[in-house]
Structure formats: C-alpha cells, structure tokens
Symmetry: C2
Subunit: 410 residues, 2 copies
Amino acid sequence: MKYSFVSHLYCPKCGKNYDTEDQNQLCKCGSPLLVAYYMEELKKVLRPEHLNERRPDLWRYHELLPVKREENVVSLGEGMSPIIKMDVVGKDMNIPNLYMKDEGLVPTGSFKARGAAVGVSKAKEVGVTELAMPTNGNAGAAWSLYCARAGISSTIVMPVDAPEVTKKECLAAGANLFLVDGLIGDAGKIVANAVKEYGMFDASTLKEPYRIEGKKTMGLEIAEQFHWEVPDVILYPTGGGVGLIGIYKALRELQELGWIDEMKMPRLVAVQSEGCAPIVKAWEEGQSYAEPWQDASTIAFGINVAKALGDFLILDAIRQTEGCAISVSEDSIMSELRTVSSFEGAFVCPEGAAAFAAARALREQNWIKENEKVVILNTGAGIKYPNTIQGDSNVLHPEEALVMDKDVSR
Amino acid sequence: MKYSFVSHLYCPKCGKNYDTEDQNQLCKCGSPLLVAYYMEELKKVLRPEHLNERRPDLWRYHELLPVKREENVVSLGEGMSPIIKMDVVGKDMNIPNLYMKDEGLVPTGSFKARGAAVGVSKAKEVGVTELAMPTNGNAGAAWSLYCARAGISSTIVMPVDAPEVTKKECLAAGANLFLVDGLIGDAGKIVANAVKEYGMFDASTLKEPYRIEGKKTMGLEIAEQFHWEVPDVILYPTGGGVGLIGIYKALRELQELGWIDEMKMPRLVAVQSEGCAPIVKAWEEGQSYAEPWQDASTIAFGINVAKALGDFLILDAIRQTEGCAISVSEDSIMSELRTVSSFEGAFVCPEGAAAFAAARALREQNWIKENEKVVILNTGAGIKYPNTIQGDSNVLHPEEALVMDKDVSR
C-alpha cells in the first residue's frame, strides 16, 4: 500500500492547484496552500484498527501526511502526547470533564516539533538544502533541530526578547541565528529579504504548506485517544493559528473517512491575550480577516502575533464549528499557571495557562456547559519558561537543620 | 484480573520480608528493599500481545508494578519514550546500530518522572501525606510535581548549584524548597534529620522501595520496543544508579516470564564522569561496594553522586551481565553534547552526552563490536541545561538585512 495518499496542493482562495513534487510556497494569489489527499481511495483500504500496532508517534497517520517515501521521514519520536484528566482544576472550574493534551512531551518541549517534523521531512523530499524562517522562539528551535537531523542548513530570525532557551536550541543545532530588536513581523521581513537575496526556501508560517499537516496530527490524536468520539470543546492558544487550522482540517478529514460522526464537531476556541488579540477583535466584529494588532505584548510570547497570515482560515474554523475567540488578561495567565502546576503537578507554559484561563471564563459565562468534555492544548513545557516562576528559597549550611513553617505530622 | 501482581518486599542482603501495605523504608539491616511479584501466577495469565491495546505509558505494565488499586495511580502521561536511530553519530563512532532512548520526553523533562510516578502513587496508596527528599535537582522537581498532583506535601533539599529550572519546578509545585551550600550528601543529612524531627516519609533514593519499580519500566520498554529481542549493550549515566538497577531487575523479570531469551542479557554499562567516578573505581578494583568519592564535581550534575546507597546492586548488575563501568572526561561530555545536537538534532542533557562519549570510547577499545546493537539512555532534556550551550548571535534592527557568512544557494 502507498505510504502517503497525498494528491495535490490547492489554494483555498482562488482554487488553483499545485504539484507536491515541487518546492511550493504561497499561491500566486498570495494565499497559503492546503494539502489534498485521495480520501475516497484511502477510505476503502484504511480502518482505525490498522493503527493499533503502529508506534505511538505522529507517523502512525502516514497515509494522511504528505511525505511519499518513508526514507524521507525525519523523526525524533514526536507525537501521541498524553491526554490527562485534570480533576482538581476541573472541580475548581466546575468543568468535571476537563482534559489537557500535553504538548510539552514532544521533542524540543513544544508542539512546534510536529510542524517541523513534517515540514522538514517534506522539504528534504523535494530537495530543499537551505531554509530560513522567522519565529517567536519555539518554532525556530524545532525547525533548526529537525533541519540538523535532515542535513538541511537553517537560518533563524527571532525577536531579541524570545525565550532564552530557544536561542540555545538553535545554537545547539548549529543554525545561523539572528536576533531582531522588534517583533516576529520584523523578523518575517528580514527573512523575506534574505530568501530573495540568498535563494533559500522560505519556511515561514503558512508560506510552506506542510507545517499545517504536522500540526493536524494533534486533531487526529485527540480523536483516536477519545476512541473516535470527539470532545465538545477544544481550546487552543492562538498566535499564527496553524494548530487550530490543522485540528479543524484533521477532523474534517476524519469525517470524510467516516471515522468520526459527521454531525459532530468540537467547538474550536481561539484563545489570545488581551495584549495581542487580533483574532478576537475580528471575530467579535464579524470580520473575515483580522487587522494587525498595535503594540502587541504578552507574557505568553508564543501567541504574540500581531497579524496571522492564516487569519481567515482561523476565523472560518471557529465559525464552522460554532466555536469562539476569547482574550484573557495577563494576570489571569500567571495565576492560572500557578493553579495548574500546584493543583495538578503540570508545569504548563504561559500559552497553555491562557487556555486554562479561557476555559474558566467560558464556563463562568456558561458558554461551556457543566458536563461537556473539554480539551485544553498545553502547547509547550513550562521548563522552557523558568522566569514565569518567582520565589526565594532558604540556603542552608551543611550542618544546619531545616525549619518547617508549621509543624507537620503524618 | 488483579491490577498488580505484587507479592512482598524483600531485603537483598539479609533476606527479611516486609508487607507492601505498610509505609516501608530501609530494611532493619540498613539495605534497600526490593519488590517481589507473583511471577508464576502472572506468567500463566499475561502475554506480550495483551499490551498492544494499552495506552503508551508506563502503566501498561501495571501487573509488574506495586500499585494495587488503579485509583491510586498518579500519572502525568509518563513513559513509552521514543527510541530513535542515531545514524549520523553512529557512523561517526563506527557503531551502525546505535539507538537513543529519549527520556527528555517524559513529564518534567527527565527520567526521574518514572520513579516519581510509581513512588508517589504507592506512597498515596499506603497513606503518606508528607514526604521529604534530597536531590540533585531533577528528582526533586519530579517528586514535588507528582506530590502536588497526589495532594501530598513535599519538602525538597538540593545543592545551591543544582540546575535553576529544577528549583522553579519545585516552587511551581508548591513544595517546601531548601537549598544547601554543599553536595547531595549534605542534603541527605539534612533530610534525615528533618524526617526524624517532623515525622515525614523519607523518599530519598532507595530509602523507599518503589522508585526503582518506576525506573524499571525503562527496561520493560526497551525490550518491548525491540520486539522482545534485547540489544547487546545498554549505556546508562550513573549517579545513584537506580535506573541501571531497575533495568537489570526488569530484564530478569522478563526472563522469568519467558518474554525474552533467558540466555541473553544486554551488557549494562555504568557511565560516570572523571570528576565523580566511585562506581568505576570500585569496578576496576573488583570491590563489591564503592568508597565515597572525594571532591566530587562534574558538569553532568545529575551524576554527581559521591556515594550511592545501591552501589552493591549496581556493581552486581554490571558483573552479572558482563558489562563494565567507565568514566569520561568533562571535555568529552561537552564536545559529545554538541556533536549529538548538531548531527542528530537531539539536544541531549550532559548526562546523556556522557553516555555517548562512553560509547565512543568503548567502540575505540573494541569492547563494543561494530555490529552490536547499542542503546544509550538520554536521561533528560537538554532544555533543562541551557548553560551547556554558549554562543553569540547578531542583533539586527528591524530595517537591517541579515548577512550570511558565505553565499548559499539551493
């Protein structure tokens, strides 16, 4: 059987088609391209139970991924991250069926590894040898490490304020790392110029068509992990929004295959910070596109994206699923981060904490009903953001005794 | 069927037995206790294929774990970390069948989560409400977070030089964190006194019997991931050595079950740094116990253990499997870390890098033969050790163009 059932690329705006054997970027009309598969053919030969004996990584869905030859797969073991029940926080929020999919447990400690694994594998397959990309940190870390594994040279540009550890990852990978005294949009302009100047492949968000296929696997996994009965609500911290677009695409594909109920979609929620909420503003105003956000700033650095190239796809996914877009305060992000880590032992990233804050707010508004099954995407490991936790500790001399604040006894 | 086939605890030194319903620490003779299972009974009812439909976490082996009631399981989705082929580094070392099991992909970014998951679950089952432990950082981070999830109060003492992020994890968990201006042995003494003073459960390495059962699952997984044909050599960075002891115990249990060949054991290799190599010294001198190492110091902080309580068990496992103990230089650790991350895209921890350096040395000595199947345990994520990577990056203004060192072209 074929390893991949990929058919072609198509433009969701103008409808033009492209060949997946080429090095593709945006459509000539300026829109991101999406990947199509031979779904009718696949439907006849693949059943969910065929997955049972496959390894627990995202390549278990290889028929629904764009890499045609298995030898081009560049993998660090990414995917099939756990979904864990959040009983204590769920009780605190009055959402008894609250779950977290923990994307901290993928290579590089962030869900960006999914897009990188599939994007770099396909880049290798079509003969890319040098690529460049702007990033808020985690995507650059992931792409540079997967590029190292693939033998592809990478040039990464990120804001000087990006998380320190993501810079170290790029350097460990041997990438060409540049910092910019600005935002990711500024990094994007520098990359666009460099791509022209040096002829590198442009791996910017949605300027190459395959990252979304990697992110899509979050949706495939959620469906499989819930035994092909999708949850009621999925909350996703939204910057560039590729994960949300990908999850929506995955669920539509599973409906086409008949693996999930074609009448039920989870309501998809785009979560942003009040410091950078262009999608929320566009959703509230009923727009199809989002205007660039002025003076964007948030502690949840990964979602500090003033203008998303895929804004129209995000807004469409929210509307089609009867979901919503919601922004949360910086204070609520920080307090939710402490709540989740101390109540549940899950040291989440600030972006994940934002999604918890949004779940709490949506439950208070009764937009989320009490007995609904709710899944939060924690998009990365808290250990990549050590500065979110402040606190002092006593330093003892070796001969000294520790003194507990209060007497404790078993 | 029973969730656990645990039978009792026994002392490997004096043979005395203990009941797993009690809160056990060391044997009265001072030795660590080990867990026994009803293996003959289990052999009759469990087959490898029964595992196929279970979740990819370490609880898939629940019959061989000590937790009797599933509701006591405290899980963050730990286990079934990937094993990835290291073709480029393998070629560089002339070990074509080189693999890495990546323990960076478990909760808290370190293999310590395995011991914490099982240890905390069992502590919960036997009614522990407060525990204390000394740590070099990662174990304290893991135990404090799992304790938070279990509703158990934790008191953690670690050297002031421990990795910064591990302190943040303890604080995020809401643990009582104390630092000591000394080594882990000094932390151990402070904990021993605090345990007496406050009546807390002592969760120090091997002073509670269940952490080893969690670590054991690395051995179970390696066997299952290689389809029940064990590799020739397993290299393990050795501090307290619980992982090595656990892997050995796991493989013996699988032999008893008849799931792996009873004539073939992987040769187990204890890897240490030249700055702290008590096990290597004892092995070279043919001793059964190791003397405390003076002035212990290494960049691979997790293996900076001057005296391991389970030294005799480590040395026994090495001898029984015809393995060895080897120390590597600090320089080789740092250079191997860069090699692995830039050749393979795997940003390993310094302890994992030490094991790569050891594999290279053992191949050069022809102790590892060219076509042997070799598995390296990378015990944690490199992102927990950002200071291992140094380097400068250019900072650009938003209007500036990046300049590549050399002209690149597709």
